[in-house]
Chain length 312, copies 2
């Protein structure tokens, strides 16, 4: 179902879960005249070609971006600077540089100064993903009905923003433009803190002497296993998120800890009313998320009942 | 597919998610000669009758347990004492009193002294559930391939333990007998702490001024929404869990907090290696849980890709 291309040549730097999902969705919609990609390893580049999700691969990032209208960085955040330095000279005048990284102020601050005159910087973040990695893990529907946040610099050219926005809408996303710092605060809460907590509880569980690893696994259906899925997310990606969104993460973390101490106190002193009040308040949010189409209402994530049903 | 009954008359006190799932599974297998139940509300009792998952309902718990071989408490933990006092006189000599509560030492300590001579106490805990409540939320397959932990008192009659054990196996569970205190420690880690953390993060999110409720909902696919499901669990049940397993919960919570402070330090000082190491270590556990059949390997809990796929 090829429509009118939104972009002439699209260059993807990195073709993992997000890059390859974007490539698939752009191909599906006929949204680019040509899709070129590069990746660190020959293996990933070959996989992308073999899967037919890109038209051409290049081992040299500078060759990949030559003549591209839109370049999207789809690599871990801390690789951005070196990559941008290596491609800056090859970017066409009027080209747009965008990305999909989970942190946004850092992108504006670190890449802005590296770009030649006439290249537009439009950082972006599709709020969609899974805990899987690599070009084979992607799928074209990943962005359907998910939000994509764009955080252009104040002096960004309106046409550049409009083009990136149109592309994300065409792959199924709903687009929201906001201040980068606000994005980083909101995502610190809805994404970075949940991942940090999940990594931490899984770490605590594996270190506890009183309970064996075998028991943790056997009784994980009591709630723990839900955290292990998040805590199976890519270590490089998440290290980079925490290092590039340090302030916002530390801020929400300190609120979380403060609240946790209050809860700890309520347990210690047997304050059943305080526990009951909190546990009642938290139910409403779930309903709103389901209503907003950001989750299915099926209990237990639609795990087949006879097979995976559980929690506790 | 009625087999040979394991129990003559089975009395269920409470017919919510767990009680009604047990009733359905026992009916499916023809595992009891008669299933009688009681519930607090007339509405739940009528629902149970209408659904055909029990043979008889009684409004008075003492009438429900009269002549029963096995009585299973399926109500919130803090209701156990009053219920047991009201039924103790009606329990048949040789009857077994069991339960499905998520905490076990408390059951031994509080109910043991209330039982007449000749009645056997065999506390149990099926490690299976969802965040839903009530008689309509149950299903017969809930216990399939899930663990059920039994924590008999030291002087428990072997036949009593054998009968309860046989019933749980016949409804699809794998049975493990262990010390009640050890159960409480293990579940504090794999179930109670995850719920506490989930309730807490959802509470923190709803109180944060810097991010609106609307944003929390919109961007919940970044990880947060997974916590909201757990935090939508029944407030009464969970208040009772934390009040009756206080010590074990406080103990694992203090380990969790200690580890979280170390992680906070690593973020503050930009210690990428420490973050990367933890994030790598936590991946292995997930694989083992999937291998142990306690979770499906599908990314994102098998949420339909075009519909609910996400995380971030
Ligand atoms: N995963 C999510 O849920 C999610 C959601 C939203 C946004 N994001 C953001 O998307 C970006 C990519 O994440 P992903 O999940 O797609 O990761 P991924 O599946 O691991 O793919 C990463 C890609 O980047 C390449 N790469 C890695 N390090 C590189 C380096 N130092 N220099 C050049 N190329 C490098 C990799 O090449 P090889 O394949 O050759 O190693 C691979 O093609 C991250 O910035 C992340 O914050 C992720
Ligand atoms: N939910 C889980 O995931 C899960 C998993 C394993 C174990 N458990 C344990 O199972 C037990 C029941 O949980 P559930 O999820 O089945 O709860 P539920 O769906 O809310 O059902 C509770 C049942 O107990 C009755 N009840 C409530 N308070 C009572 C009281 N004060 N006196 C007499 N009856 C009362 C209710 O009657 P009405 O319907 O008339 O209100 C209802 O029939 C709890 O001890 C819990 O720890 C739960």
């Amino acid at each position: 179902m090829a429509g009118k291309p939104i972009v002439g040549r699209l260059a993807l730097i990195g073709i993992g879960l997000i890059g390859s999902s974007l490539a698939r969705a752009v191909k599906r919609g006929g949204l680019a005249g040509e899709i070129v990609c590069t990746a660190r390893s020959a293996r990933s580049r070959e996989t992308a070609l073999r899967l037919g999700i890109v038209d051409r691969v290049e081992s040299d990032p500078a060759a990949a971006v030559a003549g591209a209208d839109l370049v999207v960085l789809c690599t871990p955040l801390q690789s951005y600077e070196a990559i941008t330095k290596s491609i800056a000279g090859a970017l066409a005048p009027g080209a747009i540089l965008s990305d999909v990284g989970s942190v946004k102020q850092h992108v504006l601050d670190s890449l802005g100064p590296l770009l030649p005159e006439g290249v537009h910087l439009v950082p972006g973040h599709p709020i969609a993903g899974t805990e899987e990695s690599g070009p084979e893990a992607g799928f074209a529907e990943l962005f359907d009905n998910r939000w994509c946040v764009l955080t252009p610099a104040e002096d960004c050219a309106p046409e550049a923003l409009a083009k990136v926005s149109a592309l994300w809408e065409a792959v199924g996303s709903r687009v929201e433009v906001m201040d980068a710092r606000h994005h980083d605060r909101a995502l610190a809460l809805t994404s970075h803190l949940p991942h940090l907590i999940a990594y931490n509880i899984v770490g605590t569980a594996s270190d506890l002497e009183a309970v064996t690893a075998q028991e943790v696994i056997k009784y994980s259906a009591g709630g723990f296993r839900d955290f292990t899925r998040i805590a199976a997310s890519d270590p490089t990606m998440w290290r980079d998120v925490f290092l590039t969104n340090r302030e916002a993460v530390l801020e929400v973390l300190s609120r979380f800890t403060e609240d946790l101490f209050a809860l700890q106190r309520a347990i210690r002193w047997g304050d059943g009313d305080a526990l009951f009040d909190l546990f009642t308040r938290t139910r409403a949010i779930r309903r709103q998320i389901v209503e907003a189409g950001q989750e299915t209402a099926a209990p237990d994530f639609g795990r087949p009942h006879g097979d995976g049903g559980a929690d506790e």
